[in-house]
């Protein structure tokens, strides 16, 4: 069953099957639709005066936002989870929309996929903290918003360990795989940022303090959530900077590697080529080459070449090429 309804009354919690009855019942009502079909959303929407466009926003991939209507407040948020991306364009950061509707004495949460954060608050409210709902639906809405915002910290934690892994590999790296990993991380952070920015705007509207269905005493809680979102935005920027740093080290690691290869070639060629020239000289077939008949000429030449090689090795060592 994806539609659940609870009516919180001083004497306890009632469950209703009938939405209209639940709405009209004394006390505070919370209708929670998770994993809802289009029909279920419509049924709830009709009962609580939620416009078809709002339901469409919940079903589709729309930016987080807050909209004030005459008889309720509409808060659209998104949760994010990292998942294995198969193709380039399947967004690695998967988001799910939750619609939170706050009326004078009722709260409706709608989503077409299960949202763990909403489930956690539902359980907390139902089992242990019944008094929570007694503080009004706007406070429970705050609890949900808070839980959703907190779930982003998990996403950024996962990204952080990916960055850590990349940073470790980055120095000795020689292939292009790592560059693709780095690009993917940048893309993930970009996706998260794309959700965080409008979330910040939405929460800022909630904290601003001139909305009809948010009590003054709840506003300071929303300011708290706002601080968290700002912190998330900054964390995201810091991670972008770390990724850029890792990328720089990687690119220079490539360049260093070319340099290393060049040095090896230069050292070998510079020592061996002149010596090869020397032995070439004494391989010439001129009739008159007096050195050739000197008894120790061979040994002298060999010693001389060893000397030249030694000097060069010393020179390269001084240059730091060996």
């Amino acid at each position: 069953m994806t539609v659940q309804s609870h009516v919180f009354q001083p004497e306890g919690v009632d469950e209703h099957d009938d939405l209209a009855a639940a709405k009209d019942a004394q006390g505070t009502t919370w209708i929670r639709v998770s994993d809802g079909t289009a029909a279920e959303l419509e049924a709830v929407g009709e009962t609580f005066g939620i416009h078809a466009l709002e339901l469409e926003d919940v079903r589709n991939d729309v930016r987080p936002k807050v909209e004030q209507f005459e008889d309720h407040l509409f808060v659209l948020l998104k949760t994010a989870t990292l998942r294995e991306g198969e193709t380039t364009f399947a967004e690695e950061v998967k988001t799910r929309s939750v619609g939170i509707f706050v009326g004078p004495d009722w709260l409706v949460t709608l989503s077409t996929q299960t949202i763990p954060a909403v489930g956690l608050v539902w359980d907390a409210v139902t089992r242990e903290e019944k008094r929570l709902l007694a503080r009004g639906p706007d406070f429970t809405a705050y609890r949900i918003v808070d839980a959703i915002v907190d779930s982003y910290f998990d996403v950024l934690d996962e990204i952080e360990s990916d960055i850590e892994a990349v940073e470790e590999e980055v120095v000795g790296a020689t292939g292009l795989d790592l560059l693709e990993d780095i690009n993917e991380l940048r893309r993930d952070l970009l996706s998260v940022r794309r959700v965080l920015w409008p979330t910040r705007d939405a929460v800022s509207v909630l904290a601003r303090g001139d909305l009809d269905f948010v009590d003054e005493t709840t506003e300071k809680y929303y300011r708290d959530v706002y601080d968290h979102v700002v912190q998330l935005v900054e964390l995201n920027e810091t991670y972008r900077d770390l990724v850029t740093g890792a990328r720089d080290i990687y690119l220079n690691s490539l360049s260093m590697s070319t340099n290393e290869v060049m040095k090896t070639l230069t050292v070998v060629a510079t020592i061996v080529l002149p010596l090869t020239f020397v032995v070439g000289i004494y391989g010439m077939n001129f009739e008159t080459m007096p050195e050739l008949s000197w008894p120790y000429a061979y040994h002298a030449v060999m010693l001389g070449m060893a000397g030249i090689a030694g000097v060069m090795v010393l020179y390269f060592r001084r240059e730091g090429w060996l």
Copy 2:
């Protein structure tokens, strides 16, 4: 015939040949000029009190905008299509302007080229959804704006497949062709952005809610369109990021390629040059070279050189150069 006029009345749809009569007729009038000549535009403009400057805006390449006049609302939008570019400066993203004029009980759409999005709404309104026009010309205007905005998703989809194609080729690429393709993609995205940004501003004006010829009940539909435009803007930015990422991989692919070439040269030269030196030694013509007469000297030297080569191959393997 490029000028079509329909008057929607409770009892049915009337077609008028006379513009003035169509305007004055009871019910809601829609005059649609597609592929219109300057004369046709002027004729319609005169009848409906549309200023010559507005008509000029429709004919020329002007940024999307919304302007409120005393007796009507002027919405200028653009559709975009990708086409094969022949020269650098022929914009690959071709745009066409549509002028949408909303009066108290009439709607005029003007364009000098056929706009499929307008045609779709015209057909829908005429054939099946006559009641749509009954909701007032501003609602039908919303339908047109919505159709035009949705058409951008197709353009971005096409660009997306181009990006996908580029991304696949990017790793092994060695020529400059791909760089030109990447530059072209960046230019396309820039062109699209140049249309999307003022479109966003224009739609935001329509959604803001203080215009004379937009009913309050229609505003929330415009807010919906606004959300779509914002999504398009962000999609565009994401694609720019993907193109930049592909470009980075491409440039490093070039650099890797140089590195690969260097390694080959170094390995070969470093193994062969010292050996050449060795055989050079025993090619010298000194009279006193005792090794030359040792019976197995030749074989020993050959074995020794094989040993040196083997050690070097092992070294290069350890360095990851082989």
Copy 3:
């Protein structure tokens, strides 16, 4: 004669030599000073109550702007022309200032250099379109502003052909000359932007609609000019992007060129060095080298070397280095 004065009256155009008389005459007066000396500017300024600082702005290199005074409106604009630059710091984009002063029934245009755009409007007003001035000095001022703004399209057209020329040369380029050309283009575009941005602000003030000497009916014409300036600004940005793209291709063309050179060296050295080693072996003077006396050894070695070379050529072809 650089000071010209026309008074447009219902019955025709009067020319006055006396500035004060021209100002007081019935009808609409236009005093046009082109190529004016300091003295001439001052004489006109005194008659029409134009402050010395405003005259100084016309004479000097000041940013375009609009200033509202009690008895007149001061519009300062600039025209731009490209010219051959001799040194780095002589600005290639040469600008000239025009001061346009709009009073209740008079118009004064001042400049210290001939401004073709003003001349065109003067001729049009005087010869054919006398009724134009009848619509008030603010409408003629719009005509001048429009002509000046349109003249920027010519400048950007010239820059466009320069960009086209650079783009064609960019792929095979090997020298630094092209980089200097590209830098110059960037500098030109920057100079144009530096004029366009304040022009946009100034025209936006004229279009905004709360100035004393701009009639309501003229405002929509200024909005039109504003759209043109915005288009120019965007064109400028697009050209900057094209120049950046050309620069990228150029820089990578250099890098490709190094790569090409490397490959040639590597192919030659890798084929020839091992063969040289082989022939070195059989050049050794060991007494016991059984192969030397085999009858077909020479031919076998030559064939073997040809085989090695062939294998290597195949390998390089597979790698795409040949």
Copy 4:
């Protein structure tokens, strides 16, 4: 003891153990909790009407901010110290939060770690400058804010000496260690900036002049602090620029190094290879090689080769490669 309370009265300073008594006592009260436990913070919070969310802000890692409540002003600031970082993600710039609460006649400072800047002001106020507190709690709060802001100059000084050290090593650098140092410096400056920006905003609120618990005469002191924060922000940007400059020099130092290596190889190979070819010629075994029997041929060839080598050395010297 981490909770200290002083009541400043005309006749002297009283210490109270009881918080409520201290609050109600005549005179100005300062309760200072440094290194406070959650319980201690709560006890103080309860007495002075500080909300649980504010206490949480002090305990957690929240951005500096100013919040105006009905009965007190809440200023949250952070001090920063550099410390040795062990892993990439342990922030090298360690920050500690201080909550400063200003009431009509009391001041409360809360922190969960010792804050030297607060201690300095406490000592100054207690020992020598009792009259300071007599000027009202807002002036003492200014003293604390000033001391905290000044402590950032020390952090930037430390970073400056690190930059100086890096700049000295940067020219001859060949390894990637330095690049990591540079990245670390950039990260540090980023961390400092992340604290400075909201601090600037918070102090700007204090200086703006419409807060309930800040006296008009104190505002100009806050404007002074504001100037300091702006200076810190700019210093930070300058240091970022220096680090970027050092990075550029470092990267080009690498590139220069490759160039150096290339030149050595080219000089040696270009001189020696042609000579080796020459001696190879006279090592050929053709029966008819008339030169071989000329008496001074050997010496002539040697001289000729010396000549070639000399010419090449001159050429390389002219090219600047030697």
Copy 5:
């Protein structure tokens, strides 16, 4: 003497030793403290009601700003001079603060170092233009502000010649010295910008027109100064662009240089290595090598090699490597 006081009266200029008397005297008073000690500043401050914090701003390195007080206006500006920098962190652009205090009938200028711009205005006012001060202290303040702003043009001129010098050296450059020069220029421009931006804000406040001690007739003069500051800001940006352009050319000059070296190596090695292989063949000691005994074999081989070399030279010429 660093404290000078003049009282300008209709009948002439009075010098007063007593500050209080000078302030109270009929006419307009200008107290000028240049090169002032802390004590002198305090004495003047006390007499004219200037707060200790303002004096501190004059003494310290504070950003230019304008502050409106009840009984006077405080304008803090800075002059800039270029000087030889000894260490990296000694700012090459040295700035000096001037405090300009404008009261109803008095003007006070304070500085701890000699400011030539203030001296020039002082001399002009005292010797020739006594009537200037008669126009009120705010007009003289404008003169000082104008002189200070104009002095920045000299600084930018000096930087311009440095840029010119760098641009000339940049093409053939091979060392890192030039890169350090370029970095220094960027740093200088950054320092100048850091002074110009707040100066622009301050002058904009003076030109805005709602300050107590600035007469309406003076405002248009400040607008003029404002235009100059904006021009300076833009000049600064243009110079930054020039420096960036020079840097690009320099970096590519390095890269070109590597390319040049590579080409030389490749040409020599590619021509010589195959020839060396050929002569190696005829140096082999096989018993059966029929060519060796052909009478013109030697000459044929030499000619053949010359042919190969010739073909290669042609090839390289076609490739543009020679």
